[in-house]
Symmetry: C2
Subunit: 493 residues, 2 copies
């Protein structure tokens, strides 16, 4: 591996030449447009089998430089078949996302500048643009002015930071003393049974533990039961447990249900508990005026997470944590060793003070380019259309015999199952049938769906979120689902 | 913000057209090469003042689409002046980094595919390439085969994950019960006074607390004092405190000193304590065979962090956490809700199980392209040259009257100060003089240096890490430093 130093090494170039870069970057630009405009030729879900890629990549790195031509060819021939095409307009699984063209240009420039936005000084534009652009998004969402945004990689980290702030807000001197061996009460956070797994993961990381997560049951619409919540909080307080955070979700992962945030905010106010709203997916819908009533109460939150990389057409990764008490977030995280001290620290924001990671990519750049290139109206219109497709599909499903809608559809996600009369009473059989249906549908390569389980029922999830998805894509998905359901049924019964 | 739905909205394009994308992406490619080949025209440290950018960006987002031409022009005219050029070959501050051409192409493709590498299924290539490429780097570093790599955004997160695994390894059922109110002993981690601030931040986040970090004093060479460490560990055990992790650094941030990892590993073995090695910066030097002796003992670590985005010519962000007990890391983080359950989970790696973030960019792609495009020999040679420049500069400084080397130079970072005889006995004055010197030098725009403080002494740090940096750049830096020092001295004395 090591090398002898050539006496002339300073005279030769170490990176590839700008000419070679330009040839292959230009080719890549053409390929990118070709790829994104012709995704129909790819199966949405990769057909790769475990080990396929590993078998085709040398197990050791090359000692000497390989030509870019070979590397980019391998990208297309070896890497691409193992890609599940998240950017495909008929990727309907998990939460559907989009990498838009201006976002790709933003990432090209971001990786070129390669700035670390840890301190204002280390790139004033990166810090100030992050402040301005997160405020743009705040306005798009109709949130009050007292929410300040900071960009993290993912909602997992944004929620972790929010709950860390909540822990600090509890005033138990946890930052200094920690949690173990200091005679503290048990800590508790409250969220619904439908909350995202990242909340429980944050509790583990933060030393609250899985048992410190009180998962409140949900009502028929998969919304947190407010009476049970109140009761649990009061019981905990009475027994000496310290409630530190309540985390309702606007747009849960399984069904996009909406917890009663306003009522929850009143409980938080009454007991002095931090309110963190997980709107990682749903939040973007607040760009649509007609959707705003679904968000009532979130303006009372202490913190809110909204992911532009989910439904604001921004490439991974970009998660905004809004905080109404940024000074608490800062108190939870700020640490300035001498080598990061700067003269202007008191007059500017140093973003490293508001989260876990010291190193921070210039993520605001792509978001700024996307919002300007698309405009807020087109963004809101697209989201509104996505919602309209989902509601239209939900109506069709409701009126289709032997299919069943499993949850209300407030946003762009439809959860349903195939429920032919002959098997409807055998839950295990119907679950297996739907799992098989989902797999069969995904194997066509035409569409990709994912699943969830709702009170024991296997539900197929279809979510609309890609900027290119049209009603025709959803209609095609529905045709394929019905056709495969019929085939499966005919084979089995 | 909201929008009326146009009846024809499905017929019009929502993202910008591929033609417009291609025009501006091609222009951007040309600009990128132009920028990277002509960085001399930019001051390394931005001359922007607080608020400059904010004053030039509208405070609200545009309702309708703006032309890409205008956005990219604004990028060059408004954003660029506020950039501190981390990619400049004379950026000698903090740890100098590089975004190489193949890495930029990698990021273009990564943002286009926009895959989330959370599950094997959600892009088999992304998971398998991450396994293969982190193993390539493992081989380049000469680490044993039983280290498995996983890519995080930054070393802050990698170390957080490592210490979370250490906490789990302590066998106190912390994942389930948390730390508070469960009658646990105090937890302690041990690191040196010179450790990176991310270790203390991880302790805060993990509920260990700042007081749970035992900062061991260092010797004259800024290396952890092994006798004090042993004594502190033994005292803690005797008094019922639970030691969970010792974190030596190979290449500390201030001086790149190297803790005695081998001796520390023996203490870890003796007392069953997790050994996490912070080699975020220094690790890359293990690609150079002659440097390997400096790493003796790290093969005994339970976990090691090495950042390709620091000194392996990879754009931000890319931090590899190597773990010899990946099952413990998995035990600390794995959570699989129904909506993320997949059929092949037992036969493949699902990378979401090994860290905090569920969403994961396809970061292995750029690393794969860089290693192939450069080859391991050229990478190792470049690092070796960087080290040789630093050692050469150190010798010059040692032989220059009125300058003083403040620390040994094992890697590519030189810490020194201007110490003219007339002020050498007044530490405050000499510190102020050096701070002024650094600022004056940085204001030239020709080079960028940062600083640290070593036992009360203000030290100027010059670190070599950019792939394009040659000895001429270092020599120019030295010329500027001496010239400005002389000017300052002549003005003042």
């Amino acid at each position: 591996m090591a090398g002898k130093v050539s006496p002339h090494i300073e005279e030769r170039r170490r990176d590839i030449s700008p000419e070679v870069f330009k040839i292959h970057a230009h080719k890549s630009v053409d390929w990118i447009a070709e790829y994104l405009e012709n995704m129909n030729q790819y199966p949405v879900l990769s057909r790769s089998r475990p080990g396929d890629l590993k078998a085709r990549i040398p197990s050791s790195p090359p000692a000497t430089s390989e030509p870019l031509e070979k590397i980019t060819t391998d990208f297309r021939e070896i890497i691409l078949p193992g890609i599940t095409h998240w950017n495909h307009p008929r990727f309907f699984g998990y939460f559907s996302i989009t990498s838009t063209y201006p976002g790709i240009i933003g990432e090209m420039l971001c990786s070129t500048l390669n700035v670390n936005a840890m301190l204002w000084k280390t790139s004033p534009s990166a810090t100030e643009l992050e402040e301005v652009v997160t405020d743009w998004v705040r306005q798009m969402l109709g949130l009050p002015e007292n929410f300040q945004g900071v960009i993290n990689d993912t909602a997992s980290v944004s929620s972790l930071c929010a709950i860390a702030a909540a822990r600090e807000y509890a005033g138990l001197n946890i930052r200094e003393n920690g949690l173990a061996g200091v005679n503290l009460p048990k800590l508790r956070i409250y969220t619904s049974e439908e909350a995202h797994s990242s909340i429980e993961k944050a509790a583990i990381v933060l030393g609250i533990g899985q048992r410190g997560v009180n998962k409140i049951p949900t009502d028929k619409g998969f919304r947190m039961d407010i009476e049970v919540l109140t009761q649990r909080v009061e019981e905990d307080i009475a027994s000496g447990v310290k409630p530190i955070c309540i985390i309702p979700t606007i747009g849960t992962t399984s069904t996009t249900s909406i917890d009663p945030v306003k009522e929850i905010s009143e409980i938080c106010t009454r007991y002095g508990i931090w309110l963190h709203v997980d709107a990682a997916y749903g939040g973007s819908a607040a760009t649509v005026a007609e959707m705003r009533p679904l968000f009532t109460g979130w303006e009372n939150a202490d913190s809110i997470v909204v992911n532009p990389h989910k439904w604001l057409f921004t490439p991974l990764d970009c998660s905004i944590l809004y905080c109404r008490r940024p000074e608490v977030l800062r108190q939870a995280f700020s640490l300035t060793p001498e080598y990061l001290r700067t003269g202007e620290a008191d007059s500017v924001t140093n973003l490293m003070d508001y989260g876990v990671s010291l190193g921070r990519r210039f993520r605001a750049l792509k978001l700024w380019m996307i919002i300007r290139a698309l405009g807020t109206e087109r963004i809101a219109n697209t989201i509104q259309e996505h919602i309209s497709y989902a509601k239209r599909l939900a109506k069709i499903i409701e009126s289709t015999p032997s299919f069943e809608l499993l949850a209300p559809v407030p946003f762009s996600t439809v959860v349903f199952r195939f429920s032919p009369k002959v098997v409807i009473d055998n839950n295990e059989e119907i679950n297996a049938l739907n799992e098989k249906l989902m797999e069969t549908v995904n194997q066509t390569g035409q569409i990709f769906l994912s699943h969830t389980k709702l009170r024991g029922k296997f539900g197929i999830r279809l979510t609309v979120g890609n900027i290119k998805t049209t009603w025709d894509d959803v209609a095609l998905a529905w045709d394929i689902i019905r056709e495969k359901a019929k085939e499966l049924f005919d084979t089995r019964y």
